[in-house]
């Protein structure tokens, strides 16, 4: 065999490498610097933490969400710090508790001058950003800083409609006749991620689903109408919406059963769109390098405490679904993490994953160590806040939730409570006057005062 010259050897190596890359035998990023991941955050509305097929729901089928759980890390102890749409949304965007970002209820406006979202830091890190979907924060819809594509809606006070919901596309109001909103928003999301660019993307996809008044698409309408609902809480009844002040959530004569089935059908519609989006990532070959985070703004009561809604510190209201799928940055995908994850953790986590500069005013903590299985938890407790949201019949409340107990204080005449969240998730036995409660109370008071900067409303 003839001896090769140095030039011939280099030339042949180059040709082989080029050929292997073209043939797909070598990962495209092998020679590239550490790639920044694409980011997709998907936010549902009022979705309960246990409303995923893989959580053992009696009939709900959610192959899309189940796939995320199978391929990612499922945070089964995830919570919102305020169980209400606008404050929780602002917490996701800013990484702050409601008392810090100022959107305390569905009426107090978002301050676009003061509040900085994670989009700013992500943009500085070289991303192109899109916010698509429900903004629903009080006040005029702002021009969000550092967002290249902004699609939202203002119909029905920002809640939008399931059908024919006009969209505001980069500031231009556009009619969407015949469109089902979950599908319409997903179409725009897919369009955004398919845009050719040498920059990574960050997409915030925020759905109307599954907020009331629930309307599934026509082909899913009625798919659960024959399902047995005997698993709903003991205290629920069909006309629970007739209780004082409850019909805002669904006027009579619509029954709770009817609403609940529609809720599940609308959720199935969302799941179908999620699956479509995930398939699109597969087709584009970017699944491995895309961090997909799924969460809901708050949970929802379907009969628990004789309530249909979300406005208090009940477990079903404060627990949220929270799943992160990031194949390239996750150790042991398909596992459950018991560490407490909060809505305020989203911003620091995304900044951490993207390599962007941290946001200095964050109350949240990055969950990256949990994704990488380096830690079991990042905190032991958190602050729950619910500010008065007129005219809803719920007193203002502040609480501290630890791994084992919740301490809740109320504005007005209602007495404070301590509940064992593991033995008594329905909060039926107030321990505050018991020896156990008396033992726990001082530490709970101290934590609450610490979180609230000295204030303690406990009585």
């Amino acid at each position: 065999m003839k001896n090769m010259t140095r030039r011939e050897l280099l030339s042949m190596t180059g040709k082989l490498a080029a050929g292997a890359t073209v043939a797909g035998l070598v990962p495209k990023n092998l020679f590239a610097r550490e790639q920044q991941p694409n980011i997709i955050f998907i936010l549902t509305d009022d979705q309960r933490w246990d409303h995923l097929g893989c959580m053992g729901h009696p009939f709900l089928k959610t192959p899309g969400m189940d796939r995320l759980v199978r391929e990612g890390v499922h945070f089964t102890n995830a919570f919102c710090t305020t169980s209400l749409c606008s404050p929780s949304r602002a917490s996701f965007l800013t990484g702050q508790y409601a008392h810090n970002h100022g959107v305390k209820d569905n009426l107090s406006a978002w301050d676009n001058e003061k509040n900085r979202t994670f989009f700013d830091n992500i943009k500085d890190a070289g991303y192109r950003n899109a916010f698509i979907g429900k903004w629903h924060m009080p006040g005029k819809i702002p021009k969000i800083n550092s967002v290249d594509r902004f699609i939202t809606f203002d119909a029905s006070g920002g809640q939008g409609y399931y059908y024919n919901c006009p969209l505001i596309i980069d500031g231009v109001k556009t009619e969407r006749p015949g469109k089902y909103i979950t599908t319409d928003l997903t179409d725009y999301a897919i369009q955004f991620i398919k845009e050719k660019s040498d920059k990574p993307f960050c997409l915030y996809l925020s759905h109307k689903a599954v907020h009331s008044p629930w309307r599934p698409p026509k082909d899913l309408d009625g798919i659960y109408k024959k399902e047995d609902l005997s698993f709903l809480p003991k205290e629920y009844f069909s006309f629970i919406s007739l209780l004082s002040g409850k019909a805002i959530e669904g006027a009579p004569p619509v029954t709770t059963e009817y609403n609940y089935r529609r809720y599940c059908e609308s959720l199935t519609a969302f799941d179908r769109e999620l699956a479509r989006l995930l398939e699109e990532l597969d087709k584009l070959g970017i699944t491995r390098n895309t961090a997909v985070v799924l969460a809901s703004d708050n949970g929802y009561s379907w009969g628990e405490h004789m309530d249909v809604g979300k406005r208090d510190a009940s477990e079903v209201n404060i627990r949220i679904p929270f799943v992160v799928r990031y194949p390239r940055g996750t150790v042991k995908p398909g596992r459950r993490s018991e560490g407490m994850a909060l809505n305020i953790d989203l911003a620091p986590t995304l900044l951490d994953l993207s390599g962007a500069a941290p946001k200095r005013d964050c109350d949240g903590i990055s969950l990256k160590p949990l994704l990488e299985n380096r830690k079991e938890k990042v905190r032991d407790s958190f602050l729950y806040e619910y500010f008065k949201d007129f005219p809803y019949n719920v007193p203002e409340q502040y609480g501290v939730r630890t791994g084992s107990h919740i301490y809740i204080t109320y504005q007005g005449r209602r007495k404070a409570g301590i509940f064992d969240v593991n033995k008594d998730p329905g909060y039926r036995n107030n321990l505050i006057e018991t020896p156990e409660g008396k033992r726990i109370l001082p530490e709970m008071k101290r934590l609450l005062a610490q979180y609230r900067g000295g204030a303690d409303d406990g009585k």
Binding site: N106, L107, S108, S156, G157, Q159, Y161, S212, P213, K234, E235, Y236, F237, S238, F239, I240, L242, L243, S244, G245, A247, I248, G250, A251, P252, P253, K388, F390, P391, N393, V394, P395, E396, Y410, Q411, G412, R413, R414
Partner: protein
């Protein structure tokens, strides 16, 4: 206002006002008391049945109170002002109960403004007006058939009240499932209290 009903004797105040309005009020209080005290029922099926029955009865009782009280008072010779006032006794009592209840966490001003919320109070008040107008026209028709009423059964006044009332109910509860009405109410709240 000229009384066009013939042969309807004006009963005493006790019979034409206190009795119909008071009976309606007592009925509501009884239903309300029952609805608050069914938690002891252990059997889930019985509990659900009882809760559904009582709450639906309560809803219809409050929603249609005006229709029946108005008619009962008219048949006892009560004048228009008395009929309207009597029909609003139970809804007013309900409003007061609600104001007291929500004053636990709202200011006094907010607690009163709460009653302007489409559900449950304002909707009920507006609905009562329409039902009273309907009741008036049906009574006229009933008496006219028996040659005991001199005018037309359907006249501009009650018809207008009925149309306005039904339009409001549509806007409050049916159009956008009440979402737009609630948004308007919230904006009003912000204007006044924020």
């Amino acid at each position: 206002m000229e009384n066009k009903y013939r042969q309807i004797e004006k009963a005493s105040f006790l019979k034409r006002f206190i009795l119909p309005a008071g009976t309606a009020l007592l009925g509501w209080l009884a239903l309300h008391f029952i609805s608050e005290n069914l938690g002891w029922i252990e059997n889930r099926g019985i509990y659900k049945f009882a809760m559904n029955t009582v709450h639906v009865a309560l809803f219809f009782y409050l929603a249609f109170n005006g229709f029946f009280v108005y008619r009962a008072m008219l048949m006892r010779g009560a004048g228009l002002a008395e009929r309207i006032a009597g029909s609003y006794v139970t809804p007013l009592a309900y409003a007061v109960k609600e104001i007291i209840r929500v004053s636990e966490f709202f200011t006094i001003g907010e607690s009163f403004f709460y009653c302007l919320c489409t559900y449950p109070v304002l909707g009920m008040f507006v609905g009562q007006a329409g039902l009273m107008a309907l009741s008036e026209m049906l009574c006229r028709k009933y008496y006219k058939k028996r040659n005991l009423y001199d005018g037309n059964a359907v006249t501009a006044g009650p018809l207008a009240v009925l149309i306005v009332s039904m339009t409001a109910i549509y806007f409050f509860f049916i159009y956008d499932a009440g979402g737009t009405a609630f948004f308007v109410y919230s904006e009003l709240y912000k204007l006044i209290f924020k």
